[in-house]
């Protein structure tokens, strides 16, 4: 069903950066400190994390423990204060803003808790937007591909509606399709089901499961221990440190 997702083989990707790791994700001694009026706040405190292709990893922890910061390190949305971050052999911590955006657009599909679809673009246009920014595919291919992705997430009939015209669960499906737009090897999701009812959340989770089965790697922050227990690995974070790691 999801053959399109794996259409671009990992071997075809050029190897960027100086890292020469077998891991898709390779974080070494990552520290992130935020300056606040009452002194530095250490969000991440010497985190080491390695992840293989086709893993489905959950990051759990209490509010403020550093889960989102960890995801932001992986997606390049935030930079480490010290330490190194290699994603697919790219030294993410060294990228400047512009190359970073383009790299992210091609390498990582980001999924947000509040879906974050652009309100004035239809569902299919929202999916075409990352292809446009990263100059992927021809203009004609973009629409075909976007429609196909919508089909995969069971949203084909809503393709030309605006986000405001579909439900929250449906918006998240569109957001997932958007994350897949440039066929990235890695998806990063920050509480993607946090804003959905449990039935819808379950459906989204199943969609993720299918993606992993088809070769994608997914890192997902979640509050839901039940969901976490269904993934290949669960990392627990507290006070900026990985305090527990369960592999299944």
């Amino acid at each position: 069903m999801l053959k399109l997702f794996g259409s671009r083989q990992k071997e075809e990707r050029p190897i960027n950066g100086s890292g020469d790791s077998n891991f898709l994700i390779d974080l070494t001694d990552v520290v992130k400190a935020y300056q606040t009026p009452v002194g530095d706040f250490i969000a991440l405190d010497g985190v080491d994390l390695k992840m293989d292709h086709s893993e489905f990893v959950s990051v759990v922890g209490k509010s403020g423990s550093g889960k989102s910061t960890l995801i932001n390190m992986i997606t390049g949305i935030d930079r480490p204060t010290s330490g190194t971050v290699f994603i697919d052999n790219t030294a993410v911590h060294t990228l400047r803003e512009g190359p970073m955006a383009e790299w992210r657009g091609r390498t990582i599909g980001v999924i947000f808790q509040f879906f974050q679809l652009l309100p004035m673009l239809s569902c299919v246009e929202n999916i075409m937007l990352p292809m446009d920014f990263c100059n992927m595919y021809t203009s004609k291919e973009r629409q075909e591909r976007a429609l196909h992705l919508l089909e995969q997430v069971d949203m084909a009939e809503h393709a030309f509606k605006l986000p405001s015209e579909v439900s929250g669960g449906q918006q998240q499906r569109v957001a997932i399709a958007r994350a897949l737009a440039n066929d990235p090897p890695l998806l990063a999701a920050d509480e993607p089901t946090g804003n959905l009812d449990s039935k819808t959340a379950d459906a989204i989770f199943e969609l993720f499961q299918e993606l992993v089965d088809n070769g994608k790697t997914i890192v997902m922050v979640t509050h839901d221990n039940e969901l976490a227990s269904r993934m290949t690995r669960t990392i627990t974070i507290a006070d900026g440190k990985i305090v527990d790691e369960v592999k299944r």
Partner: protein, 797 residues
């Protein structure tokens, strides 16, 4: 297929139509104003130059003693003179109504078919005019109260009446516009002139010099040769006029006027640029999250920058849709109006390509330049920052001195109600936005008050000029009479308080053998009651003075080295004589004048005790009274056999000058209103952004019990407050702007500075205006704010 990113840009523009219209209109107004002014300049230049050059305008006009065709033929043989032609000009009184007479200016030509210079062109009826008939200049016809085919009555200085049939119409672009002079123009043959008692000789000599692209200097050179030739024939040349080559005389006034209007147009554009900055800043603030998302899914910053810059370019393009046609129409209408004043027909409606190019460039560049920095700054935000922005209120309040001051004043000093305090504090929350809005509104207000100050200054200066020369009636006789007789007889007429005769002549200063610009020397009495000079330096004339002269400040504009106590040489009627400069007086709207004692000048000019005119001061100075006295004077002088050639009433002069001033002021006010309008749009934009940005806050206020009315009031008061603050600054700035504009208008149009009067009424009027603008600009946003439900506002993203 349009790329998705451009679809987003287009939908953003369509999605907020009010904002789009606001920006489009405000850019459009600036571009419209510039199009109108540049268009007018070009249309006028092209059409007037063409129409004017077709009449083969003279390079120089000489006013010598009367002459015949032989002199013309001799002049034409001068090397460097291409063509020469003579005509005669004089004026008589035309009966307009039962008891209403106006001056009718005649031009008499030898041969209407053989005109070569300054041609008068056939329009309709008979051509050339047979003896004892007249052809009227087409624009003058309404001023004669007659039609073609009617017979008009003209009166000679000896009160004899003549009847002339109007046989046709002609067009003469060269004569002074009848709207300004109120004196119609007509054309007759030399035979008719002789019949009217003005002889058959010519008294105006027009020449066209040899060569192309002649400069003023070239023409001055050949003019000197012509002047010598005239003098050699035994005639005096009283005056030589060299118009700006190739330029209609009216252009001298219109060009600086358009430059001033153009400057105001640029200010309107500047005001709209500030509005663009504010709106783009507001738009970016609203789009923070979207910018973050776009970056998260792979957009590089320069791609986003380009998206927003393209949207401002689209604003520009949309504004052109309004600005090009409206600017073109306005330019045509304005040019037609000016053409009507100058007395020519435009060649037809068109929008010159240069105007379109300028408008396109301005409409594209202005918003891009204005938006560039906001866009570059607004897109620096990182994905993390963009996504983590939430909660109440942007625009920190309370963190600096100004905030705390406003807080203290509103709560402790003024003890304002809580909603009022919110209004006051909201006003200063977004300081950069407030400043830009204030600049726009202040500019509008300052220009508005400044322009009204120009009007006040023009009228004030006119008052000065007219009370400077305090006479109410000016009478000119057809020949010299004894001053004693004139004055004695004038005083016999009831209503006459003072009668004074001046004598005058043209003068030039001679310095190191070089003659300067011509000015006028007036011989008056030291104890004159008619001239009330404003003394700047030194003293006024004493009865015992002989070769003493008091110069006005306008003489000093040309001869800036002269100081009180200097000895200067003045050439009057070809006689050079040394004079002592004893005083300097203010010059008001007259050109350069030197005042000297009458007996001494009369002796020098060899006409002792005689004058050709008299200035009368009447008991009352209203129009009706002075007109009645003028009629009595006319009757009286007629009865005793003194022929009057013409009379003029100061009230008429004032009216005619005021109507010219009003044309200028109206144009300035129109531009000021445009600037004020952009200011109003700016305020509206700011208030909309403020309300939009505070939607969540409004919801919170609502949730804790604020009524529709208090929300409405909070927004309205903020809008009005911004207006009133701008009024304070605008009033202050209006002074220098008004002063500078007055000076500019004075020096370019009247060749003298104006006495600056600050338009206090204008300032008060603007206060009312700005309160209205503030109300109108914030009523829509305020209404929208009051209509939001709690659920909507808190859900607002």
């Amino acid at each position: 297929m349009i790329r998705p990113r451009w679809r987003k840009v287009l939908r953003d523009l369509l999605g907020n139509k009010v904002r789009t219209m606001l920006v489009v209109f405000s850019i459009g107004i600036g571009v419209f104003a510039i199009g109108m002014i540049v268009g007018t300049q070009i249309l006028l230049d092209e059409d007037l130059s063409l129409v004017y050059s077709e009449t083969n305008p003279a390079h120089a006009v000489f006013y010598p003693d009367s002459f015949d065709q032989d002199l013309v033929d001799n002049i034409e043989r001068i090397d460097g003179v291409k063509e020469a032609q003579g005509r005669s000009g004089f004026s008589m009184s035309l009966q307009k109504g039962e008891d209403e007479w106006v001056n009718l200016n005649f031009v008499a030509l030898d041969d209407f078919e053989a005109q070569r210079i300054h041609t008068i062109n056939y329009v309709s009826g008979e051509w050339p005019p047979p003896e004892r008939t007249i052809i009227i200049e087409q624009a003058s016809l309404p001023f004669t109260n007659a039609e073609v085919g009617d017979t008009i009555t003209v009166r000679a200085s000896d009160d004899r009446l003549y009847e002339l049939e109007i046989v046709g119409l002609a067009h003469d672009i060269w004569t002074e516009p009848v709207q300004f002079t109120q004196s119609p123009n007509g054309f007759i043959s030399l035979e008719t002139m002789e019949w009217l008692g003005f002889g058959s000789e010519l008294d105006e000599l027009h020449i066209v010099a040899e060569g192309n692209e002649l400069t003023r200097d070239d023409i001055t050179e050949i003019s000197t040769v012509v002047e010598n030739k005239i003098e050699k024939s035994g005639r005096t040349n009283y005056f030589t006029w060299i118009p700006e080559p190739g330029e209609h005389p009216a252009q001298e006034i219109i060009t600086p006027l358009l430059a001033i209007l153009g400057a105001l147009g640029v200010l309107a554009l500047l005001a709209s640029a500030f509005l663009v900055i504010n709106i783009i800043n507001g738009l970016l603030a609203q789009h923070t999250q979207q910018i973050g998302i776009m970056k998260a899914i792979g957009a590089r910053r320069n791609q986003i920058v380009l998206m927003y810059l393209v949207s401002v370019v689209i604003f520009g393009i949309l504004s052109l849709i309004i600005a090009i046609p409206l600017g073109g129409l306005a330019a045509y209408a304005f040019t037609s109006y000016l053409a009507g004043l100058i007395n020519f027909e435009l060649l037809g409606f068109r929008i010159p390509i240069q105007v379109i190019i300028i408008q396109v460039a301005v409409a594209m560049l202005t918003p891009v330049l204005a938006a560039f920095i906001p866009v570059v700054r607004g897109t620096t935000i990182t994905v993390r920052e963009a996504l983590s922005e939430h909660g109440l209120g942007k625009g920190q309040f309370g963190s600096n001195f100004l905030d705390r001051l406003v807080n203290w004043i509103s709560a402790t000093v003024l003890r304002l109600s809580r909603p009022m305090r919110i209004s006051l504090r909201n006003t200063v929350r977004r300081k950069a936005r407030l400043i830009l809005t204030l600049i726009t509104l202040t500019l509008g207000g300052a220009i508005f008050i400044g322009v009204l100050s120009v009007q006040a200054s023009l009228l004030g200066t006119l008052d000065d000029a007219l009370s400077y020369f305090a006479y109410d009636v000016d009478i000119n006789f057809s020949q010299e009479h004894r001053i004693e007789t004139i004055q004695r007889e004038a005083l016999k007429v009831p209503g006459v308080v003072t009668a004074e005769s001046w004598i005058g002549a043209g003068a030039r200063r001679v310095l190191d053998g070089e003659e300067g610009e011509q000015f006028f020397v007036i011989g008056t009495n030291a104890e004159t009651e008619v001239i009330k000079p404003i003394l700047l330096e030194g003293r006024w004339l004493l009865p015992t003075d002989t070769n003493s002269v008091v110069l006005n400040s306008l003489v000093l504009k040309e001869e800036s080295d002269i100081q009180v106590g200097d000895q200067i040489i003045m050439k009057i009627n070809d006689r050079e004589l040394e004079w002592n400069v004893v005083g300097i007086v203010q010059g008001v709207m007259t050109g350069g004048i030197g005042y000297v004692n009458q007996p001494f000048l009369a002796k020098e000019l060899r006409f002792v005790g005689k004058a050709t005119g008299v200035q009368i001061v009447t008991e009352q100075d209203d129009a009706e009274y002075t007109a009645a006295v003028e009629k009595r004077l006319r009757d009286h002088f007629q009865a005793i056999g003194l022929d009057i050639s013409n009379t003029s009433l100061t009230t008429d002069t004032r009216q005619s000058i005021e109507s010219q001033f009003n044309i200028i002021v109206t144009l300035l006010v129109v531009m000021a209103i445009l600037v004020a309008f952009v200011g109003g749009l700016g305020l509206m934009g700011t208030m909309s952004i403020n309300v939009l940005e505070r939607t969540r806050e409004i919801g919170v206020m609502r949730a804790v019990g604020a009524s529709d009315n208090s929300i409405l009031r909070i927004v309205l008061v903020e809008g009005i407050l911004v207006g009133v603050i701008s009024w304070l600054f605008g009033g202050l700035m209006a002074y220098p702007i008004g002063f500078y504009l007055s000076d500019l208008v004075g020096t370019t149009l009247l060749e003298s500075s104006l006495r600056f009067i600050f338009a206090t009424n204008g300032a008060l009027g603007w206060l009312i205006g700005i309160i209205l603008i503030g109300t109108l600009a914030s009523i829509l946003p305020a209404w929208n704010a009051s209509q939001l439900s709690v659920r909507q506002t808190l859900a607002y993203e």
